[in-house]
């Protein structure tokens, strides 16, 4: 698998895939996409890297353990759910900014929730795949 072509292609594909995953994440509110798919695509980017350069390099690239992404993402999702409590609204009420931000668009708690899902999915997928490929 460690072919030069593959390695070179991966070097280009990794940032592209990560960018694409973020695009999918942002697109997800009204159109197909969202945190889950985005997270899976981001996981694919790292898995590709692991195939090309080996797990050790990918772990070095990631810097943090994929396992620790899970609670972080969950915490982010819960945070987006409990934000409305402080305004006296029921839990999980969507809060939105008044003005849309250029390129990204209107930002609300739904995006925060989706970002949490993105991180959880990335963490879960990488943990599973890394564990399996280490034990093989």
């Amino acid at each position: 698998m460690r072919h030069l072509t593959f390695k070179t292609a991966t070097n280009f594909l990794l940032p592209l895939l990560l960018l694409f995953s973020i695009f999918i994440l942002l697109r997800g509110h009204y159109l197909p996409g969202g945190g889950f798919v985005g997270g899976i695509i981001a996981a694919i980017a790292f898995v590709l890297h692991a195939f090309a350069f080996g797990l050790k390099d990918t772990r070095k690239l990631l810097k943090i353990k994929p396992m620790s992404l899970m609670p972080a993402g969950l915490a982010l999702a819960v945070f987006s759910a409990i934000l409305p409590i402080f305004q006296g609204l029921p839990i999980m009420t969507g809060l939105w900014m008044n003005e849309p931000i250029p390129v990204i668009g209107l930002i609300g708690t739904a995006l925060l929730f989706d970002l949490g899902v993105y991180i959880v999915v990335l963490g879960v997928a990488l943990t599973i795949i890394f564990t399996i490929s280490e034990s093989v």
Partner: protein, 509 residues
Amino acid sequence: MTINLIILPVLLQFLLAIILLFFWTRTSIQKIISIAGSMFSILVAVLLFSAVYNNKIITMQAGNWGPPFGITFVADTFSTTMVLLASISAAAVTVFSSVTIKKARMKFGYFPSFHFLLMGLNGAFLTGDIFNLYVWFEVVILSSFVFITLGGKKVQIEGAVKYFTLNFLASMIFLTAIAVLYGLAGSLNMADLSGKIQNIQNQGLVQVTAVLFLVGFGIKSAMFPLYFWLPDSYHTPQAAISAIFAGLLTKVGIYALLRVFSLIFIPDLFMKNLIVILAGLTLFSGGLGALVQVNMRKMLSYLIVCHIGYIIGGLGMFTVAALSGAIFYLIHDIIIKTNLFLVAGVIYKINGELNMKRMGGIYANYPALSLLMAIPLFSLIGVPPLSGFWPKIDLFKESFTTANYFLLGCFIFGSVITLFVISKLWSEVFWKKMKNPVRKPYIRYYDEMPQNQKVLLILPIIFLSLILLYIGLGAENIFQLSNKIATELMDTTAYKNAVLGTTKIHITP
């Protein structure tokens, strides 16, 4: 904050689980957080309970979407009582498991899964939406899968396979029933369904859906024909895990059964007879199963099945007095089954055996401890001032006045079997002398433990026994509570009004 008080028991468990996930391998920190969090959750449950008991039903529309479209959370007396009982038994089990669960197993996410399980339970009790109920059931099942396979012994995997299969089957049936119900009534909100179900033309299909719900919840609560997964799987995991399973997991099925069959499908004569017959057979088969077991935990598992018959029987008679008895029994059963499995765990730690034939000598060696253990055992039989006596009297009386002589016979049979089985356990485990005890190297025995661990092992049993004594000696308060719940279950207008009538959408300020 007041409107969100209702979701706090769910949210608290979720936050605890997330915090514990951050400390994945640091078990000593996990223990402290888990115990402190469980204590705090009792406080939250008491707060919610008193807010509902003294005033009126609290509702909350998640995401601020109006009923019947959004997901409603409803806290009436029944659901808050269940949340309170769940948090009490969970607190006892966390303290117990901080000593008994091996460190290697804690590192595989014991405590986070525990709090995810409790989140699912609390959510199931508090939701007012039937599909959301399904989702919470799934949360409970997924966490329980972690528990039942934790350790990965052969016997555990065998039990887990049965547990998986039957629970998946139950979930499928439950989901199918929801789908059919949605197709018929076009709503998933339970209060809304309650009003719409009578206006449906095709009442035959409504009956079929009701039976589907009965089967789905029946499997989960270990009712007669499909109960065998329970005694086959509950004795395999660690004592602390079995305790929480025994106390709460089957009871969430019972809760759903009581809720659905009092709110959505009002039982007609056919349904009542069906439930009564199933209840009688549950009592009968569970009792007979318990009779022949020599494995202590397996015997207790069969007793769970047997005693579920009392609660379902109360539902089958469907009068205020019968439901009141059933609720009282449910309250007593949650605490006592948790306690009994904790007691079984301590006995195992003392003897290193689960086969009752090879056990013995506890009374001679630990007289004070035996006296403590006698409280849950005698309460289970229903020795008069203790807690098992009162709901049984209610149920016996009601089955006599409604002329359900078959059910009355099964009730009496169940009580006699319980008496016999517990006296067998008492004479075998407590009074008999242990013959040539063999020490097994892989068990950490009770007398090898340091003093502080012994205290942590016994403290939860004392705590739950005190609550049992309160249920028995302060029966009048519990009667008032169960009567209030039963009246609310029979007359659902307050529930419906609280969900559909008065809930307002909060306008963003």
